[in-house]
Amino acid sequence: MKILVVDDSKAMRMIVIRTLKQTGLGNFQTVEANNGAEALAMIPDQKPDLVLSDWNMPEMKGIDLLKALRASGNTTRFGFITSESSPEVRKEAEDAGAAFLVTKPFTPNSFEAAISPVLA
């Protein structure tokens, strides 16, 4: 399984990948992108099984990445990992086709609880 981690913070990408390794999600490889635009360009070649994206990024926000993917017919499973946790943000994410939204700060348990059902 290949997971694309999209975040403009290198620190957060490292924490996300480290947390993924602390879960019981099994074998996976990760690829990284700095923002939505970079991710959008990478996805056709990389063909990830899951995209984990921040919400608020320069160049292209996570929500715009998701909308662009769906508009192009791409149905890759997609979840947000973000400090944005308001009901408005959750609804916008859900309406756009996100499978889940994990709020920062997170723990390995909250991570696994959100991601496992999507990968089942």
Binding site: M12, N56, S85, K104, P105
Partner: protein, 150 residues
């Protein structure tokens, strides 16, 4: 709804201790006016308008970055230190925005040093929590405004 110091402290604890495993303890009011102290600021604008600042001496900033990157302090670059403190203010700001609710937007973090980036000037009139993070100073501030910030 607005934010009080107890709520702000809880968010700081959740971010620094709950997620990163850092030992953070509330402290008496401390100062952090060294020119190379790291200041990370994020703006929330809309139904709730505020500036959130994380302020740390360079030593604390390096401890935070070292934890986030799993690297020794000697290995860290300036960009990595700024990235780490910026992500702290991003998480604190995002969580506060969620607590207050309403239609507001969160800016990207802006990170600098006290010598170049002091958004509140010398007179701060907002909510402030003082902490010792791994034994060194960490200050988090929220300044609510009535005007929409752009």
């Amino acid at each position: 709804m607005s934010i009080d110091a107890i709520t702000l402290q809880q968010v700081v604890n959740d971010v620094c201790t709950g997620m990163l495993g850092l030992n953070v303890e509330p402290s008496e009011t401390v100062s952090c006016d060294e020119p190379d102290a790291v200041s990370a600021v994020i703006r929330i604008s809309g139904d709730w308008n505020s500036l959130v600042q994380v302020l740390a001496p360079r030593s604390t900033a390096k401890v935070i970055a070292s934890t986030m990157f799993s690297m020794t302090e000697d290995e860290l670059t300036e960009a990595e230190i700024a990235d780490a403190v910026g992500e702290i203010v991003n998480m604190v700001g995002g969580n506060l925005k969620g607590i207050v609710q309403g239609d507001s937007s969160l800016s990207l973090p802006c990170v600098g040093t006290m010598s170049t980036d002091s958004p509140f000037g010398t007179a701060f009139d907002g909510i402030e929590v003082n902490n010792l993070c791994q034994g060194d100073r960490l200050i988090v501030r929220v300044l609510e405004t009535t005007a929409q910030l752009v």
